[in-house]
Subunit: 318 residues, 2 copies
């Protein structure tokens, strides 16, 4: 007999994220507002997990649950529940472009487990949900990655000490921090952009990089925007990957000209982000960066957002 | 006519320091108590900087001011003062062994400039003194290094974003943090221990290292001893340098067995440090580590200390 208080449908939102954050390749990430995935999970008489439909993906994402990051994350979650579990039907609404470097697959994983967790009566905390989302991400990138999923799930800035099992530190967010993200309408596959990375790095550059990661983490605790700016440098990954992004160097200069604290590649690109003190500077940086792409004849989207501190959340339930 | 309030003699103490701190090669350091240098600076009718005497160095340090780290730091300081400067005579009392990996030359640089700065009526803040000490350090190691001098000058934990000009972030210190340092009576030259390092490191290990640096910095702000322990790993430098330290692997195991949070090489060695929550664990770790060296037939010193948060200070003036 069904529980009267039992939910039959839950809709959750998971925000898009910027991973790497300059110096923090594979270890840092933060969440933004508005962009992301909305997923509705509905109880079904049919056992197992099914994808009822996907919008906003131009038909490119797999509808088989076992091949879909959202489906795989939910399957992983349900396996961890003792006793019988209901059938689940997922409807995925992508409110962000695929392959933009804003953690599109992570949004699907996170929104799906947050919706299903609520549907099941919240058996897991957010931290407990994290491993399920990392398993879902594996389907997208081939290796376990927790940076985008952790930022999307928890919100704010995260430091990933270990991807699997995930060991994630939630970091504070300076109140006036804004992000400007420009998404040129070209596509880079995460797998491809990993392949071009060099397997070895000079020790000297690695030392600079970990000084910058330490500085960036300290800057978040200190509300120290200048230190944040001095730490937002990537001497290892950005020089290699930025060649895939037309106008990157000029966009970065344009953002810094607009008084952005720093500018680098979001995830594996092609989106480029600039962190700024205050919305006005973020808008100016975005305008400057846009004019570079315009001159190159490239289409783009522009997003201005404060840092999303809430992370994924339930939007509707019935 | 001499100023009546003018000081004629100032004695300052600068504490010994642990640089690198596991994951933070060339970027992290902290100061300890008791070990260090005591330097007395006295006004002299004879122009220029002279070293009047050095004790505790077994006659190994140069008495010519232009070749001595303390002398060079003071010369650098005096050059930054407008107008005529008095002659200075330095007496150096080393209260720590040379070549132990505890920043011996940094102590000399720091104690000397702190004493002379006071003697001159404190024209410079501690931050302003830092570049002079880095110049002094260059004489000892051949390259500018700010990690030991910054920790000795400011106390507590420091993150060095850039060595010269120095960009140093002072980090908080968890209250219950204790350090156990064991100094085997062997000597390693800093220059030698840098030469054996590999010029390139695998990207994968570098990523782990900067995740650990980020984790360690966060742990200090969070008072999170467990995170500190999970971050105190060095997969890049320690495996290479530890071969120069007899019994290192066994000492590290012995420290962890005693519930130390982590254990690694202090600076370029041969001293080995363990960070611990509370004095009791630090004492037990020290005892365990000592028994390893004893079994190898090696003499050693053992120091148990809380973190020195004050840094260098004036001890006497007249």
């Amino acid at each position: 007999m069904p529980d009267r208080n039992q939910l039959n449908s839950v809709t959750a939102f998971a925000p898009a994220t910027v991973a790497n954050v300059g110096c923090g390749f594979d270890v840092l990430g933060f969440a933004i507002h508005n962009q992301g995935d909305v997923i509705t999970a509905v109880r079904s008489d049919q056992p197992g997990v099914r994808i009822a439909g996907i919008t906003g993906d131009e038909g490119r994402l797999p509808l088989e649950a076992e091949k879909n990051t959202a489906g795989l994350s939910v399957i992983s979650l349900l396996r961890s529940i003792d006793g019988p579990v209901p059938g689940i039907e997922l409807s995925i609404e992508k409110r962000m472009p695929l392959g933009s470097g804003l953690g599109s697959s992570a949004c699907s994983s996170v929104a799906a487990v947050v919706a299903v967790n609520r549907l099941m009566g919240t058996p897991f905390s957010k931290s407990e949900l994290l491993p399920f989302t990392v398993e879902g991400e594996m389907a997208a990138s081939g290796t376990p990655h927790a940076d985008n999923v952790a930022a999307s799930l928890f919100g704010g800035f995260v430091l990933v000490k270990s991807h699997f099992p995930p060991d994630v530190v939630q970091l504070p967010t300076p109140a006036e921090l804004y992000c400007c993200i420009i998404h040129p309408h070209i596509e880079i596959q995460t797998r491809q952009s990993r392949l071009i990375l060099k397997k070895d790095v000079p020790l000297e550059k690695a030392v600079t990089q970990w000084a910058n990661v330490g500085g960036l983490v300290a800057s978040l605790y200190r509300d120290d925007y200048e230190l944040l700016g001095r730490s937002l440098h990537d001497e290892i990954i950005e020089p290699v990957r930025s060649v895939l992004i037309p106008g990157f160097t000029e966009m970065k200069e344009a953002a810094i000209d607009a008084s952005a604290l720093g500018c680098s590649i979001s995830g594996s690109g092609p989106s480029v982000f600039a962190l700024c003190k205050g919305e006005e500077i973020a808008r100016k940086a975005g305008k400057n960066m846009g004019s570079i792409l315009k001159a190159l004849g490239l289409e783009y989207d522009l997003h201005i957002s404060s840092i999303n501190r809430e992370g994924a959340s339930v939007r509707e339930e019935s």
